[in-house]
Every structure is written in structure tokens, then in C-alpha cells.
Symmetry: C2
Subunit: 704 residues, 2 copies
């Protein structure tokens, strides 16, 4: 049967909905969903289904799906897990487009096969599945509340996609008491078919959804997710709460969702790459959501803090550094702008301190001046409750100033104090003005505004891949496979790296003295010589290594000395030849790698090499493919980055060659599916223009 | 005149108080303070002073301090800055014990000399000064509200000491609406005389103060502060908000307070050393205060998370790692304890997941089991609002369980959801049960409980100093001073380091070939030889250095070669001799230093050496003197610490010798006041038992 691939629009705007497992028992999910749909104001046609028939809230109940004499866009299934498959069959028969399986008892408790059977059947019959193990969907455009959560959801501009049903249901309640309007909320549960990717694909151009909030526990189909996220975040802010940040949390998440949680640093870095704004806590994310939907995009990075207490100003400056908010610094302009609003001992430096004597009128003057000033792009307005604080007057002037500029310039407020401040904040919140009790919260919101601003103004960059000798690489892989190996030998790995255009130390095996001398001449001095023998593992111990050979005579002497030493120490060893190699000049040791991540697919890694990789974990990750700009961001965000810019009189290093190497390694992994892991450690980096050298390479193959 | 040094008890429990600058104008500070004292319920005698006389709120106003026919313990001064000195004189005349100078216009605006004049006069007349530039004092024991902040302060167990008046006044209002009871709140302002040290000295044994919250902008008298903080934190929790964490914030703080802000890392590390619990934001600190005063100390580190949503459990596990809360891990015991409270698909692993089906009764069972279990020492109880959430029932069971165990076992709650959860939280908060809307907040509070727990259970340790040859060190310092230098030459610094018992490379100057050979024999091979000549700066460039000389013949050859090279390249250079030194074996390069911090006095520093010092700033600080345990904490908290435990098959390093070196360097700085800075970089650390070697030493002398 042909897969119809129904448009996802029908999921969010169904003309009709069936509830299979509609219940007469008011405590059951099968009742609650019907009740929410019927009383929630849904404009479409509703078909509760229960073999017993009868009525729910005066609405007829159908004895079977077949008996519905109408086409149905969406079905919610809330029957026990073991009868879900039968329900799916009847949905297919009815040519229903989307089935939301609310029922639990599938992959989340290990029942993977039944879940797979359901999805294959559905997909084969042109149906798509949401869930299982979800709370349903709310969609403001048709006023559909097909969930078993709270009833009266306020329509608005925030779209929520959650992996956790429990957190989703609680969020419906929480957004209600926080007065956050929703365009939609949907849980993806086990993501057996429909995942965040499908939903973002819809939400990216869904006008009513101005902000998207995602609660994520584990990543699947990460390659597609990265792609759609990159597109979405250029259009609207995407906030993410991802639990499992810590080792212990990741373990708990793995045990809770049944999926293996990846390293959090990988998620964090790729979220950054995608322009996603990550919140630490649910409260932080909701704070951002509430106001981001209505916040204007700033015209630049200059923020001014206005305060009546130096202490609050300092705390806000601390918070600005934490949340990457840039403080405006032009002292002359600041002085000109604000000196009219403060006594002589005030400070027109940023944070601008109007002093504890500042009245509402002084704030009015200062805010007016800041809002009119084109060099100031956003404002954090703080106030301590003082003896002269007039709540009514302060509320009035803030409301006025905010109304005049709300579409032009972001302004956030934080008020600290007792009753009077509380009164003021309650009023301002009612007017949807971003006001927070704590300067850190106000500033973190400003940080979220700027994260989105930077997504919009920074060019996307062009995806870059390298030219690599794929046929050669494939032949090396095939040879290893023929040998039954899943790892490559050192020379095989080196040859793949060379086929990707990455320089490696030149090295040859010489079988006699003449060959050794010729190799050395070919490589250029100095060279290193090592005995090659399966019987000799610890070459240095038997005098089988000679370093720093500077001319032909030294090569000849060394050749004979090594042979002599080996014969003396290991008379029974079969000497196959001598490896003659280029001496590696010292440089900065880095690590460059690529691997297939379970969640994200091909990812690349860069960091400080040597033993510091393990201890300092000074590394960064990105999803592949990527642009040159993204590679440069990846390189510049490790702590040791200043090393590459030249410190203590050192030269600037060849960052371009490092970036090129990352792209080459990523390209190999992406194009040669047989490879699962590549790690160059160390990749020695030289002064600018002198390139890099891949000294040690480790390559693993995929499970066939 | 003799300094009477009045007991600070009179500041907090005055029998009488005068208000100099009492005003009839109800908008003036001089009125507000009188009003707060008179209407706030103060039990002592009140003497408003104003040359105009009259009455305030029916209370007689005295025309002068002299005209008060009674002894006065405390005076508040609220007159213009220029008349404060006269007021102080009249206070001295009256033998008043403490003067609180509310007036501003002193060192905070650069008027340092007048402030100094006032303090010297006061101290010479046995008076002590609070301020200037403060809001006053509230003290619950005598119901004294001598502030110009809000009136009705709830008496309670939290003592607040704040440097910022504005934040202090706002905090009075904020604690009121958050229902936090205060034992005292006092601002130290410019700290011209009385500082946090004096106040802590009182609060440490002040029974009503169970938690101390400090808002700090800059540190002075840090040596005494460290000492008193160490003692205080072993008895009661001390929370600190220190603004100026960031570079920008530190600059703003410096400009705001007029004092130089030190590096935040120094403050952070020394706060840790003192057992202080540092909050990032004011809200976080107040959240902790609210409940810490009534929270029992746990009996151990085992925490259990109980939740009805896996997602919340994972977020809490993340938060536990962030706030150093240890999750209990005995799966058998957990299973035995909790399996009765959950369906089969629940998880008795920690976080314990009762699943979304959990009712209030299930929570009751689980909480009861956890509270009774002696292996579980604290509980984080989380709940998402579900369809089965019963707010009344949940509130009832939580109140019951909490009441039964509130003096025995810490338990914190976090509830997430809508109206029902809000109702429940409001009730629980009224009963003073620690409940938070966000799992991160609940966990951060548990983290604060455990920080204090660790202060109580970890032994204080004995302060350790080293035996050093002080006379020799002083003679080296004196010689440099005679030369007019504030830096020491390399050999002088080395000799001080040796006088402190720290090994340095052996090194001698030879003036002829025989001497060179003898030096080498004395040192033991291999040795290094370098030409000594004021005329030759870049010794390597002229062939003036020979490394790795392994026997007498090589020493003789090298001596002649160097002489030859120098004559060839720099025929005009005067060769004074040859430096013959021990070859430094490679080891881990660290940095060890000590300096006089403007705020804290003598501090020591330890970190990874070489170029990583500058780039990775992987360093830690402590105030000196300290115990061996504190040194070990200092060493183990740098990121690179695993390097010293042996990685990649390396040997464990000589951590004891490192610790000893830190103590020796600290002792030198502490005992020899002439030294301001010592830096050993690198201090090379060898395998365990093989010690350390101070390769390069830089010592600077103090001014004067």
C-alpha cells in the first residue's frame, strides 16, 4: 500500500477527531480527553468510540471506528497496550491520517517489538503515529485540547514540544498560573514515528508560534534535528531544557527513558551550533518564554544598566558577563545621556547609578534618555525599594515608557524590596512587561534575547566538505574487513589520513642498508630509524631505535648499530627491515576526531592533545557537516585557545590548517560509512603557514 | 584618654539611644529613624536631639546631647556630613559607647580625611563607630528598629550584615514579604571602624541568630575576618552574597565602593576555606536563610530523591551534582524501602520513581519509609501535578510527615504544576516547610544544608607553619634594600627559598677550569654549564651553554668550547666565570606562590605551572596560615589534580612535598614582613618520595 505521507497540518488543525477508548468513568484518561475536547471549545467534529456506546456529556459515543459515518483526520488511542494494535488496524481501515497513542506500556517498559509492529503497520498504511506514552495535543488554532491535562489553556504564542508527558501536563498548569499563552503543546513520548523534527518542520512557519520550547531527554535522528533546528532558530527563538547534564543525571535519564544518554558536552556544543538557547531549569525557560514572544529584536549589542543602588548594579554587571550581555562603554555619551537624572555623586558610568535618592521622575528621565539614544540598544532597569520609592508613580512611568518603545527596544526590569515593590511588580506583570524579582533572572532573559539576536544577524555560512580519495579509503577498509578486523593498523590509518589530504610524517620500510640510506635522503634529515620485527615489541629496550640522524653517515652507523644490538639482545628475532621516518618537530599537540554519535550522527571533536585531553577535557564538539565559521567557533571556544594565538612571545599557530583538518576528518567519516571512529592524537600544530602533522591516528570500523 | 573598648553587646542591646539630627519633617531620615524606634516597640529610653526642641510623635526632643539627663549607650547621627564631627565630640563628652553615623558624604565620595579624623577622635575617646553611610540597626532582642527602612520587622533567627545600605533597606522589605524573621540587620557601610569582624564576634554566640547572611562588596581586615569566619561557620551557617564576581562587575564594584576589588577566585577559594556558603543571587541566599534556621543537621551524606515523574528526577539528579549532594546508592536497600509504594514499572533506583500514578497515599508510604530508614539521611521529595494529584491530601500527608521528622532529618520539597500545586505550596510555606517551585532551588537548599554539615563534621585541623631560617632571609632582604632594590636577584631568591627548606638546583660559579671540574664532581653528573658575563645576555646564541655533561672529560671539553665560542662571537665580552648546575630531571611543572592580598593579608597560591598558568588559570588560593588538611584541599581542587595521582601508568607524585612547599612559602611571607610576593614557577614535582625542586623563583619586597 502506498504511503500517503499526510501533511502534518492535519495533526495540528484536524477537521475531525476520534477518541478510541472514550470512557464513561470520569476518573479515566479516556473520559478526561473527551471532556477536554468537548468543553475546550474545539470547532471540529468529535467522535468518541467505545463498544458500549451511550453518551458522554450528552455527546453520542460510537461503538466502533467503522461506524463513524465521516472521514476522520486524527484519532487519540487510550486503550490498554495489548489492544492498541487492533485500534490501529481500524484506524488504517478508516484512512485516518494521524494516530496519537496515549496508552503506555511499550518501549518505555521494554516492549519494543509491539511498538515497532504498530509503527510499521501504520506507516505501511499511510498513517503517522504520535507516541506511544503521551498526554495528547493542544492546538490553539482550532481550540483543540485533546489532552488529559488541565482544561482551560490560554491561547498564545508559545509552542511547547515535550518528551516527558508528566512534565508536559504539569507545564500546562504552570503556564496557566504564569499567564503564558500557548499556540500548541504536544508530547512526543517514545517518538516511535513522529519526533521533534516533524514538529519543528511545521512550527518553523507556523505564524502563531513565536517561541518554541522543547523539553528533551534523549536525542534521536539528530542529523535531521540539527538541520531543522539551524533553520528554525534563524526565524524564531528555540529554547531547550535538556535534563541529564550531570553524570548521575545522565544515568538516571538512561534508566528512565531506556535510551542511552550521550555526553552532555556534545549536546551542549551542538545546541550552541544550532542556535538553540539552553535553559538550566524549567522556571528559567518559562520566564524566557513568557516575554520572548513579545520582545523586539535589539538593533545592536549595547546594553545599559540603570539602577538606584550600586550593589544591584554590580550584581547585574556580574550577571551580564555570565549571560554574554555586552555593556555599553562610551563614557562621554553615557554622561551626556544620564547626567540630568542624578545628583553629583551619582555615576554615569555603566551601570548608571541614579543613587538612592532617585525618584520615579528621575527614572522617567533616565529611561526616556536611554530609549531615545540610538547608541543604546537595550536597557536593564533595576530598583531597590528606598524611602522615596513611589510604587504607583513608578508603575505609571514604566508602563508609559514600555508602551512607547515595546516594539523598538528591549527593556527588562528587576525590582527588589517589600510590599511596595510587590505591588508594582504585580501591576507590571499584568501589563506583560518583563519584570523579575532578581537581577540574575532579568539579565538571563536579556541574554536569551541576545542569543536570538546573534542567530539572526550572524551569517549562516556555507557548508564545507573536503576533497578526499574515497576509492582508496574504501579499499583500505575492505582489506581490513577481509582480515576480519574492526580496527585499522597504524600504516592503514595513516594512509587514510593522507588520502584525506592531511599531512603525516613520511615513513618507509627499508630492507637493506642501501634502501635505508635512500629513504633517508628522500625524506630529508634529520630522520628516525626503528627496527621492524614482529619478535621485538619494546624496540628501545634492545637498542632498536636511533633518533635525530643528521646525515647519510649517521644513518649507516645507526643501521649497523641497531642490527648489532638486536642480534646481541635478541639473537632469535627475525628482523624484517628498518622503518626510516621523518623526525617530528615540536609544536602544539591537539586532538582532532570524528565519530558517529548515537544521537547526532557524524560529529567532529577538537581539543588540546596529549595527557591534557583526559584530565582537562578541554574539547569541543560539532555536528558534521558544518561551515568554516562553525569550525572556527569550535576551535576558539576551548579554554586553551589563546595558545594558538601566540603567547609569551610565541608565534601565531596555523589555525587554518587545524580547521581544514577538522573538515577533512569529518568528510571521511561522513562519506565512508564503514568508519565509526577517527582520532588523531596528537595532531601537531605549527606556526602560521607551516601547517599541521597527524602523528598518531586511530581508526575503528563500523559494525558491518 | 583611655580606650574603654565598650562591649559590642551595648550596640545590639542598648538601654538607651539618642538620635542626633531627629527631624520634625516626616520625609527626612532623622524623622523616620525616630518614628521606627518609637513605634517599633523598643523597650529602652529614646532621646531625639534637635536644637529646635519640641516633640516628635508626642515624645520630647532634646535641644542638645548634653541636655539629656541620663547615660546613653548608642547614638544615631543623621546630620549633614560637615557637622558630624561636632556631633561626635558631643557624644564623646556624654561617654556614649557606640555611634552609628547614618550620614553619607565621606570616604564613599572621596572624603577620606574627614572620616579618618572622626574615627581617630572617637577611638581616642573610647567610642566605636558604625558607618558612616549606613541605614542603622535592627535588633530583635530589644525590639529596636533604629533604621529608616520599613517599620514592622518580624523577629526571628536570621542575622543580616550588609555593606550596602540600599540593598539592606530593600532586604528588610523583602524578608517581610517572604516571612523571614530577623534577629538583627545592620549595615557596615564605609566600615571606618566596626567591620564584619566585630559583628561576627558578637553573632557567633548570639543564641537568637541561627543563620548569618552577609552581603559583601569588598574585603578589609581579611586576616581577622578569616579567623572569625572559620570559628563561626563551625557553629552556625554563614551565607555570603559577594558581588563583583565578573571582571566587569569587579570594576563596577571598585567604582561604587571606592575600594579595589580583589580577584574573585581568591574570594571564592577563601570563602570555601572558611566554610562560608556563597550564594550567587540575593534570592538564592534568602531562600536558604528562610529554612536553614529551622533545618536539622543531617546524620550523613545519603540523599534520596522521591518523584512521580522521571523527568523531574533527572533534573534533580543534575542539580545534586551541581550542588554537591550525594545520592544514596544501595539498590537493595532502596528496593526494600520503596517497592511497596510503586507499580511494577516504577523505579526503586535513586531517583526513586513512584510514576505518574502515585497518589498522596503512595507518597505517604514512600516518605514514611525514607524517614524511618537510618541509612537515608535526607530526602528531596518532588511531584509533578498529575490527573491524580490531590492538593489537600498531599498537603496533609506532607505536613504530618514533616512535623514528625523536622528535628531529625532534612527533607525538601519541589512541586511543579498549576493551580492545585500552587494551593498546596502556599499551605506548606505557611507551615514553614521548605518547598520550592523549582527542583534546582530545592536542591541548592539541600546543598547549603550539606555545606554546613561538612563544616561541622570535618575536623578543623591544626595550623601548621614551617621552620625557616629567618635571620638569613632578613639579611638577604636588608642587602637588597641597601642596594635600593625592591626585587631580589635570582641567587638571592634561591637562597631565601633554601633557607625555607625548599630544594633548589645546586649551582656554583667556577672561575677556572679546575674549579669547574670540581663543582661538577661535587654536584654529580649530568651537569649544565653556562657562561657568566654581564656582556652576554643571550647565552645560547653565542654558544655559551652546554647541556647534559656526563663526566669530567665532557666538562673540560665544554669549558674550552664555551670559552672559544665566546671569544669568537663576542671578543670584547668580559667572561666572569662559568655557572655549573645540576641538570633538572623532568617532572610535573607547578606554580607555588604567596603574596599579601589587599583584602585578605597573606595568601598562598598553587596551580599547574608553565604556560598553562596564564591560559588555563588552573590555580587555587588559601589564606595563610592554614592546616595540612586545608593545603590538601587546595591542591586537590585544581582541575589537573589527577595528574599528581598518576595517569596513563605514571607514578603518583610527591603531593606531601608540594604541600610542604606551600606551607614553607606561606611561612616566609608571614614571618618576613619585608617580602610582598614570592612565586616559584616552575616548582618541578617528582614521583612520590622524590620531592620537588624550585627551579625559578621570583621575590619582590614590600614598599618602605
Amino acid at each position: 500500500m502506498k504511503n500517503r505521507n499526510p501533511s502534518i497540518k492535519y495533526l495540528f488543525e484536524p477537521r475531525s477527531i476520534a477518541i478510541i477508548g472514550a470512557s464513561h468513568n470520569t476518573n479515566k484518561i479516556g473520559y478526561l480527553v473527551v471532556e477536554n475536547i468537548l468543553l475546550g471549545g474545539y470547532a471540529g467534529r468529535v467522535y468518541p468510540v467505545n463498544p458500549k456506546g451511550g453518551q458522554i456529556l450528552g455527546h453520542p459515543v460510537y461503538k466502533s471506528v467503522e461506524s463513524i459515518g465521516d472521514s476522520v483526520d486524527v484519532a487519540c488511542v487510550a486503550v490498554p497496550a495489548k489492544t492498541v494494535f487492533d485500534a490501529i488496524k481500524s484506524c488504517a481501515e478508516k484512512k485516518i491520517k494521524f494516530v496519537i497513542i496515549i496508552s503506555s506500556g511499550f518501549s518505555e517498559v521494554g516492549n519494543i517489538s509491539e511498538e515497532r509492529r504498530i509503527v510499521s503497520y501504520a506507516r505501511a498504511h499511510g498513517m503517522r503515529i504520535v507516541g506511544p506514552n503521551v498526554f495528547g495535543i493542544y492546538s490553539s488554532s482550532v481550540l483543540l485540547n485533546a489532552t488529559f491535562g488541565p482544561r482551560d489553556i490560554k491561547p498564545g504564542n508559545v509552542a511547547i514540544v515535550t518528551q516527558s508527558g508528566a512534565i508536559g501536563v504539569a507545564m500546562i498548569g504552570k503556564t496557566k498560573i504564569e499567564d503564558i499563552g500557548l499556540s500548541t503543546i504536544i508530547s512526543v513520548g517514545n517518538k516511535s514515528d513522529i519526533s521533534e523534527v516533524d514538529l519543528l518542520d511545521y512550527l518553523i512557519s507556523h505564524k502563531a508560534s513565536k517561541v518554541i520550547l522543547m523539553y528533551i531527554e534523549g536525542i534521536e535522528a539528530g542529523e535531521k534535528l540539527v538541520k531543522v533546528l539551524k533553520m528554525t532558530t534563524r526565524k524564531k527563538p528555540v529554547l531547550v531544557i535538556k535534563s541529564g547534564r550531570s553524570k548521575r543525571g545522565a544515568l538516571a535519564a538512561a534508566s528512565h527513558t531506556g535510551s542511552l544518554a550521550g555526553e552532555d558536552k556534545v549536546f551542549d556544543d551542538i545546541a550552541k551550533q544550532c542556535g538553540v538557547i539552553r535553559a538550566e531549569s524549567i522556571q528559567e525557560a518559562l520566564d524566557w518564554c513568557k516575554f520572548l514572544a513579545n520582545s523586539p529584536t535589539p538593533k545592536g549589542e549595547n546594553t545599559v544598566i540603570v539602577t538606584n543602588g550600586g550593589g544591584l548594579g554590580v550584581l547585574a554587571a556580574d550577571a551580564c558577563e555570565k549571560y554574554s550581555v555586552h555593556l555599553y562603554d562610551d563614557s562621554q555619551n553615557l554622561k551626556k545621556t544620564f547626567s540630568g537624572a542624578m545628583p553629583e555623586f551619582g555615576s554615569a558610568k555603566n551601570p548608571v547609578d541614579l543613587t538612592g535618592e532617585a525618584t520615579a521622575e528621575d527614572y522617567d528621565y533616565a529611561l526616556g534618555a536611554a530609549l531615545r539614544n540610538r547608541n543604546i540598544h537595550s536597557i536593564a532597569c533595576l530598583s531597590c525599594e528606598t524611602a522615596v520609592f513611589d510604587a504607583d508613580e513608578f508603575t505609571r512611568i514604566v508602563e508609559k515608557r514600555y508602551a512607547d518603545y515595546k516594539s523598538a527596544k528591549p527593556i527588562v526590569f528587576s525590582l527588589f524590596g517589600g510590599d511596595k515593590v510587590e505591588t508594582c511588580m504585580t501591576s507590571l506583570k499584568k501589563s506583560n512587561i518583563p519584570v523579575f524579582p532578581e537581577v540574575y533572572e532579568a539579565t538571563s532573559f536579556l541574554g536569551a534575547i541576545y542569543s536570538h539576536y546573534r542567530n539572526r544577524v550572524h551569517p549562516a555560512g556555507t557548508i564545507e566538505t573536503a576533497n578526499i580519495d574515497t576509492p582508496h579509503i574504501e579499499s583500505v577498509i575492505n582489506k581490513a574487513r577481509e582480515d576480519g578486523r574492526r580496527f585499522l593498523l597504524s600504516h592503514e590509518a595513516q594512509s587514510i589520513i593522507r588520502a584525506a589530504g592531511i599531512p603525516t610524517p613520511r615513513s618507509y620500510i627499508a630492507h637493506n642498508l642501501d634502501e635505508a640510506a635512500n629513504c633517508a635522503e628522500g625524506i630529508g634529515y634529520p630522520v628516525v630509524m626503528k627496527v621492524t620485527s614482529k619478535d621485538i615489541i619494546h624496540k628501545s629496550d634492545v637498542g632498536g631505535v636511533a633518533l635525530d640522524l643528521e646525515n647519510k653517515d649517521e644513518v649507516i652507523d645507526a643501521y649497523e648499530a641497531i642490527l648489532h644490538n638486536c642480534r646481541a639482545h635478541r639473537p632469535d628475532a627475525l628482523v624484517e627491515g628498518m622503518e626510516v621516518s621523518e623526525m617530528i618537530e615540536p609544536g602544539i599537540e591537539t586532538i582532532v576526531g570524528a565519530r558517529r554519535d548515537r544521537g547526532f550522527g557524524p560529529i567532529v571533536m577538537f581539543g588540546l592533545g596529549g595527557i591534557y585531553v583526559e584530565i582537562l577535557r578541554d574539547i569541543s564538539f560539532r555536528a558534521f557537516p558544518l561551515s568554516r565559521e562553525e569550525v572556527m567557533n569550535m576551535i576558539s571556544e576551548i579554554h586553551s585557545y589563546p595558545l594558538f594565538l601566540g603567547v609569551r612571545g610565541g608565534e601565531k599557530k596555523d589555525i587554518d590548517a587545524m580547521a581544514g583538518t577538522i573538515i577533512k576528518v569529518g568528510t571521511v567519516l561522513q562519506q565512508c560509512k564503514g568508519i565509526s571512529d577517527i582520532e588523531i592524537n596528537p595532531l601537531v600544530v605549527y606556526d602560521y603557514g607551516e601547517g599541521v602533522k597527524a602523528v598518531d591516528v586511530r581508526i575503528l570500523l563500523s559494525e558491518s
